[in-house]
């Protein structure tokens, strides 16, 4: 029980990865802004990004689209955990340094 309590964030990360695993089930419809842009006739103003790394949440080089989405989702989720954790680690209030 104590171990479970200490590793709660491992469980949280696993849950996030599980959601990413199911990302191919996401609705394929355009989102709110895209819908408005299409209906109101300004969607064609959108410009391509100057470079493409993992466009459309499809990991490049994987032919199966669902698998490409899953790989992109898992990778992004892990990257986000690292960025969030790292940022917090750098900025955290050090105990014993006092509160200014």
């Amino acid at each position: 029980m104590d171990r479970l309590k200490r590793s709660w964030w491992g469980v949280g990360l696993l849950l996030a990865l599980l959601i990413a695993l199911f990302s191919p089930l996401a609705s394929p419809h355009p989102d709110g802004l895209e819908r408005v842009a299409e209906d109101k006739g300004f969607l064609d103003r959108a410009r391509e990004a100057p470079y493409q790394l993992i466009p459309d949440y499809l990991f490049p080089g994987i032919e199966n689209e669902q698998l490409a989405t899953i790989v992109a989702g898992l990778l992004g989720t892990l990257v986000m955990f690292g960025v969030g954790f790292g940022l917090a680690w750098v900025l955290r209030r050090r105990e014993g340094m006092g509160r200014s």
Partner: protein, 216 residues
């Protein structure tokens, strides 16, 4: 509602970048004073969860989808300043790695979702909790209202940016963006409440963590 490049003119993009940079800079200062050790992994998990949940579009109506933005949820869990940094990093990774949301438009996307979305969610949640107290239903109703309003207001700010850029007239952009996000906001509210209820059941101390260490 990730704005791609091309929707906003340079002036609007630059002003949005400036406001976002100032807000995020202030958030960094606040977080470095207030963030406790125990919140470090929570910030990582929240960022990971919001990224994954943002991939999960749900259908609303008329061939339209929406997804969680997570601003209100992050603010409830981490307080507004850490939440602002979490949402900003999600948006930055989406723009840099996944080409979701433009680079010039990143300032506007941060302004809409990380600054406005988080602050609206935070103000509504804490305001309602002050009125309704600490009961379970009060947490849930406040969480739902905070999540719904954060999405609707963020979409209206996006509409203002579109109008200022001359992309869509005021009378078109504001009602169109507002209406569709009033629907999407219902999904935001439901997911936010579901996560809060889940956390309240399994780890109520995580919900109390913020109150303990971030209150000024």
């Amino acid at each position: 509602m990730h704005i791609p490049d091309g929707f906003l003119n340079t002036g609007t993009s630059v002003v949005a970048w400036a406001i976002s940079a100032g807000s995020v800079g202030y958030a960094v200062r606040r977080v470095s004073r207030e963030l406790g050790e125990r919140q470090v992994p929570l910030m990582g998990v929240t960022a990971a969860f919001i990224f994954a949940a943002q991939m999960m579009n749900f259908t609303v109506a008329g061939g339209t989808s929406g997804h969680l933005l997570g601003g209100a949820l992050a603010a409830i869990l981490l307080g507004p300043w850490a939440a602002m940094l979490v949402l900003t990093s999600v948006l930055a990774v989406q723009a840099l790695l996944f080409q979701d949301g433009g680079l010039l438009a990143l300032g506007a996307n941060v302004l809409n979702m990380a600054v406005v979305g988080v602050l609206v969610g935070w103000v509504v949640y804490t305001g309602l909790r002050r009125l309704a107290g600490n009961r379970t239903w009060a947490t849930m109703v406040s969480g739902f209202a905070a999540a719904w309003l954060s999405v609707v207001i963020a979409s209206l700010v996006a509409a203002v940016e579109l109008a200022l850029s001359g992309t869509s007239p005021w009378g078109v952009a504001l009602p169109a963006m507002g209406l569709v996000h009033m629907l999407i906001g219902l999904g935001e509210g439901l997911i936010t409440v579901a996560v809060l209820a889940f956390l309240r059941a399994v780890r109520p101390d995580l919900l109390a963590l913020r109150q303990a260490s971030v209150e000024v």
